[in-house]
């Protein structure tokens, strides 16, 4: 089972670039208008609406630029073999970072089993549906020496619940990737794995 991650597609990236260009154009246009007025009158008196639009445009530009920047973040591509493993057995996790691998500073891999349930929060005026999660198993794998590409052997424990999925209650197992990158936020990825019931012995 090969799992790919990517913050967003190339076309989404193009969209963010265009949005950034649009915000920059608004800032440039407003700056130019006020500069021409200032040169003519010697007074800089922007209207409140102009200030509001400018602040909004600067905020939007910052946000669009950070979105664009995320496109260049390194991201892991993971192969989990076999795709489904019984309790008590093990599976291999291979990964390779795509993108700017040199920006990956550190990484950690963990196997997590958790409960996920839909519940009703009745504390407010209206009952609100919420999804609650609670981990019941977390096992960190040894931190690999080579970060850009590598593999680890992950042992699935015995005596716990295999993957279970109903409408409102789920038992999920996942391989959790966490990595710190240069000039970027801490990245967290979760790759679900199918854990099967224990194979009967004897």
């Amino acid at each position: 089972m090969v799992l790919r991650t990517r913050p967003f597609s190339f076309w989404q990236f193009v969209l963010w670039v265009l949005a950034s260009a649009g915000a920059a154009a608004v800032i440039y246009f407003m700056g130019e208008v006020h500069l021409v007025n200032f040169n003519a009158t010697g007074v800089l008196q922007p209207a409140r609406l102009d200030i509001g639009v400018l602040v909004f445009a600067v905020g939007a530009l910052c946000w669009f630029v950070t979105r664009c920047w995320k496109y260049f973040d390194p991201y892991p591509e993971v192969r989990i073999t076999p795709g489904a493993a019984p309790l008590g057995s093990s599976f291999d996790v291979e990964w390779i970072f795509r993108g700017s691998k040199r920006r990956v500073r550190s990484m950690g891999i963990a196997l997590e089993g958790r409960e996920e349930v839909m519940a009703e929060n009745k504390t407010g005026k209206r009952a609100r549906s919420q999804r609650l999660t609670a981990p019941f198993y977390v096992e960190n794998s040894e931190t690999p020496q080579k970060i850009g590409k590598g593999h680890v052997h992950v042992q699935v424990p015995e005596g716990l619940m295999p993957t279970f999925e109903s409408e409102k209650t789920r038992i999920v197992w996942l391989v959790r990737f966490e990595n710190q990158i240069k000039w970027g936020a801490r990245m967290k990825y979760e790759f679900p794995v199918q854990v099967l019931p224990e194979v009967a012995r004897g």
Binding site: M118, A119, E120, S129, Q130, L132, T133, P197
Partner: protein
């Protein structure tokens, strides 16, 4: 006095996946029921929204006021009975007489070696994932 009873062939209420669930359904009701339904299902309970799923069912009809019928279900491989921090899952055998809707339930455990799976509590608080997703 009216009675409706599920009597399992085994005294223990612990079963392994794939086991046969054998027993007798007996009743003594003043008015003969039209039919009696026997359902095998799992149900969840805990802090989340409970749910149930019927796995097998059988209906007995042409009944007397005092009668007894044998039944046999083959238990599925999954899901196991479990007890977790948020939810628990239990297996149930339920008999309902119609039209009176008198019913009786028998809870039992189905899991590896006939034991309920008890989920440990790992580090980490209960997390409202829907708030993060919103």
């Amino acid at each position: 006095m009216d009675s409706l009873q599920i009597i399992l062939a085994r005294t223990s209420a612990e079963f392994e996946p794939g086991n046969d669930l054998v027993g007798q359904l007996t009743w003594n009701i003043s008015k003969a029921p039209d039919r009696v339904e026997l359902r095998l299902f799992w149900t969840t309970f805990g802090v989340g929204i409970p749910e149930s799923k019927i796995v097998q069912a059988v209906t007995f009809d042409r009944l007397l006021t005092f009668d007894s019928r044998a039944f046999k279900f083959k238990l599925p491989q999954f899901p196991y009975s479990y007890r977790g921090k948020l939810m628990s899952l239990s297996w149930v055998l339920e008999a309902t007489a119609f039209p009176s809707r008198r019913n009786v339930r028998k809870h039992f455990i189905m899991g590896p070696a006939g034991k309920e799976v008890v989920l440990p509590s790992a580090d980490g608080e209960v997390f409202d994932a829907s708030r993060k997703a919103a």
